[in-house]
């Protein structure tokens, strides 16, 4: 059923439909609307979950660790500073192979303090062993939560997942959403069946320490599970498409890419603007296309190499910066294209909520055509 909903509320509704047993909540802008909406659902008996109003984000994710280890489906949401406070727990949750799903309403990292959007927060946790999904619009932000639980809880994966959607740009925007029914979601997402759990009837030890004789193998198995989750994403994404008409089997998607000379690579809501800019450039006879990355972890390197094999140049839009190096997406795209000879230029853009418009995308394509890039785009003149 189509309804006009705020992004955060659509995500909260998706979570309700996933039937989590334990939700932990801590307020932080621009995520707060999600947990407020969930609290209302619990208060009105629309959602039968334990709702913990914890003392900080470290506790929020730690409570999910406990609940997930005890065998319950769990959920939390955060952003930016809150995610940074969870840093330690993020590595812990993945290391213990707990399929927690967490929404990230992407926001910049301080200092300076900024409540506005970029993707520095979740990107900074790229090495933590979580799956990372990025939504272009609120329909995708909603649907990706169903997919995230389905994939994370698969016994061949058993890793936690971020569903990332741009703070304010998506979280606070009203869009028409085709919301699944409870029956639909129950058909797609079976109840959580933990691989193992804390249980007095069958005692096990969780979170033991590993000596140098064993640690390497733990990390290897996590990496293997994350890489092999590509097949599960493809399978379940396809299944979702069969059932509801929106296919998420591909981790990357091309837009007017088949005959493109310049490929723009982007993640998140900027993809929508980019598509419009591409349409206008195409009208002007310029062969530009988009490669949208929907899944950043596991990183779709082979898929990217395949889709970009024919282009003359690549312009990566990075809403993050690995300070002292380049944008994280560009670094990985370069790795994926290594040996192809295709030049990849990086454009750091939109940090801290700086607006990105169609004209900016067009300007970046023009820069790429001139071989100019690996730069912060749109800087105020006084810093130059």
């Amino acid at each position: 059923m189509m309804e006009i909903t705020e992004g955060s509320h659509a995500v909260a509704e998706a979570i309700r439909l996933c039937r989590p047993q334990v939700i932990s909540a801590y307020p932080i802008t621009p995520q707060t609307h999600i947990v407020e909406a969930l609290a209302e659902m619990v208060a009105n008996c629309q959602l039968d979950a334990e709702y913990l109003t914890v003392d900080n984000e470290l506790s929020a994710l730690s409570a999910c660790v406990g609940a997930s280890a005890a065998g319950s489906r769990t959920y939390s949401a955060t952003t930016s500073q809150g995610l940074a406070l969870m840093f330690e727990v993020c590595f812990n949750a993945s290391g213990m192979r707990l399929p927690i799903v967490m929404s990230i309403a992407n926001r910049a990292m301080g200092a300076p303090l900024s409540i506005w959007n970029d993707q520095q927060d979740s990107i900074s946790l790229r090495d933590s062993g979580w799956l990372q999904f990025y939504a272009e619009d609120n329909q995708e932000a909603t649907d990706l939560h169903f997919l995230a639980y389905r994939v994370a809880e698969d016994h061949s994966v058993l890793l936690p997942a971020f569903v990332c959607f741009d703070g304010f740009i998506l979280s606070h925007t009203y869009e028409p959403i085709d919301m699944l029914s409870q029956e639909d979601v129950d058909r797609f997402l079976p109840p959580f069946s933990p691989y193992e759990r804390l249980d007095a009837a069958d005692p096990i030890s969780f979170g033991m320490y590993a000596t140098p004789d064993y640690y390497l193998e733990f990390r290897y198995e996590m990496d293997r599970a994350l890489k092999e989750s590509k097949a599960i994403i493809q399978k379940r994404g396809n299944e979702f498409g069969q059932m509801f008409g929106r296919d998420y089997s591909a981790m990357v998607e091309g837009y007017r890419l088949e005959d493109a000379e310049t490929a723009i690579v982007a993640m998140g809501s900027i993809c929508g603007t980019t598509k419009d800019a591409i349409d206008e450039m195409r009208d002007e006879g310029k062969k530009a296309g988009l490669l949208k990355i929907r899944v950043f972890r596991p990183f779709p390197d082979e898929e990217i190499a395949k889709l970009l094999s024919h282009v003359q140049r690549v312009a990566v839009l990075d809403k993050n910066i690995s300070l002292g190096a380049k944008g994280a997406v560009a670094l990985e795209v370069k790795d994926a294209l290594y040996g192809s000879g295709i030049p990849v230029k990086d454009y750091i853009i939109g940090l801290g909520g700086r607006d990105v418009r169609k004209k900016d995308i067009k300007a970046i394509v023009a820069l790429a055509e001139k071989g100019q890039g690996d730069m912060f785009y749109g800087l105020r003149r006084e810093v130059l």
């Binding site: 047993q21 334990v22 932990s24 979950a49 334990e50 913990l52 109003t53 914890v54 003392d55 900080n56 470290l58 506790s59 929020a60 730690s62 409570a63 999910c64 660790v65 406990g66 609940a67 997930s68 280890a69 005890a70 065998g71 319950s72 769990t74 330690e88 727990v89 812990n92 213990m96 804390l198 249980d199 007095a200 069958d202 005692p203 096990i204 030890s205 969780f206 979170g207 033991m208 320490y209 590993a210 000596t211 064993y214």
Partner: protein
């Protein structure tokens, strides 16, 4: 009733001979029984009991991080509630994890009123990392980060009063205990796990390695702490002290002399003023908790 033959903390773990914390774990799990989930903080106990792929725990056990045991326990409690399960949840954390790094998580969990028992095995310093001071380290104890030296007598501050802090959170049951009094400790654990809401027990668990005494003296040292009034065993129900272990008090010197961490108070020269300051701490404890047994005059 506690089944004293029950062994849920198995032998073969890697604790030092004479480890007070290992004894505490054994007694606590005996008292808690098989229907218990244990949440451990990072620390000595976690490390000596669970080197992968071995574990000493015969009850379900989880270790997540140093500071987050109370939050993990909160999540477990919520999950059990939702699943209709009845296991009891016991946190076992050291004093660093409790007095210092875990304070926010503990305060949050106690304020929210989760049904679990938090047990701090208090060996009065960060032992796992090599004997650094914590908020539980007593006045004048020499540790590696509060060493006694030419211009220092060791730790400059008295011990933080954690039981009072948690009493202020409205915890229904709080107790202090000592490994020197196993029956008392087990009774208190039993009481705590059968009391609804967040309960706290602080167990004095001497560390032979960190305090500097021979492993066979652990119980004797723990007992002297009680007998000198430097450790008081009491129970608090709804914030009121209801029961106290009374003693015929010995001078604090008898306790201090058993441990290298206080050696600088006696050698090379005796530090009368410092010993008197520690005696004053014991005297205040004695007065506050009325622990003195008055002997009849001849």
């Amino acid at each position: 009733m506690v089944d004293k033959t029950l062994e849920l903390f198995d032998c073969g773990h890697r604790a030092c001979g004479g480890c007070g914390a290992a004894l505490a774990a054994r007694l606590i799990t005996k008292a808690a029984g098989t229907e218990t989930i244990v949440v451990s903080s990072t620390g000595c106990m976690e490390v000596f009991s669970t080197p992968y792929p071995e574990t000493a725990w015969k009850v379900p056990w989880i270790h997540s991080l140093f500071e987050n045991t109370s939050a993990v326990a909160s999540g477990i409690e919520a999950a059990l509630k939702k699943q209709g399960r009845k296991e009891k949840i016991v946190v076992l954390a050291g004093d660093g994890a409790t007095f210092d790094i875990g304070m926010i998580c503990i305060s949050g969990a106690f304020e929210r009123g989760h049904d679990f028992t938090y047990i701090c095995y208090d060996n009065e310093a960060y032992m796992n990392t090599g004997i650094q001071r914590s908020g539980a380290t007593p006045y004048d104890a020499s540790t590696t980060t509060s060493p006694a030296g030419k211009c220092s007598f060791g730790n400059k501050r008295p011990k933080k009063d954690m039981p009072q802090i948690l009493a202020a959170h409205g915890a229904p049951y709080i107790a202090t205990a000592s490994i020197a009094y196993p029956a008392d400790l087990m009774k208190k654990v039993e009481m705590a796990i059968n009391t609804k809401g967040p309960c706290y027990i602080q167990v004095h668990a001497p560390c032979c390695t960190g305090w500097g005494f021979e492993g066979e003296k652990t119980i004797a040292v723990a007992k002297l702490a009680i007998e000198t009034g430097l450790w008081v065993n009491y129970e608090m129900v709804e914030g009121k002290v209801v029961k106290v272990k009374k003693v015929v008090r010995k001078p604090v010197e008898e306790y201090l002399k058993t441990q290298k961490r206080f050696r600088h108070l006696f050698k090379p020269t005796r530090q009368d003023a410092e010993i008197a300051a520690i005696q004053a701490i014991a005297d205040r404890n004695a007065e506050k908790y009325a622990i003195d047994i008055k002997l009849k005059k001849e």
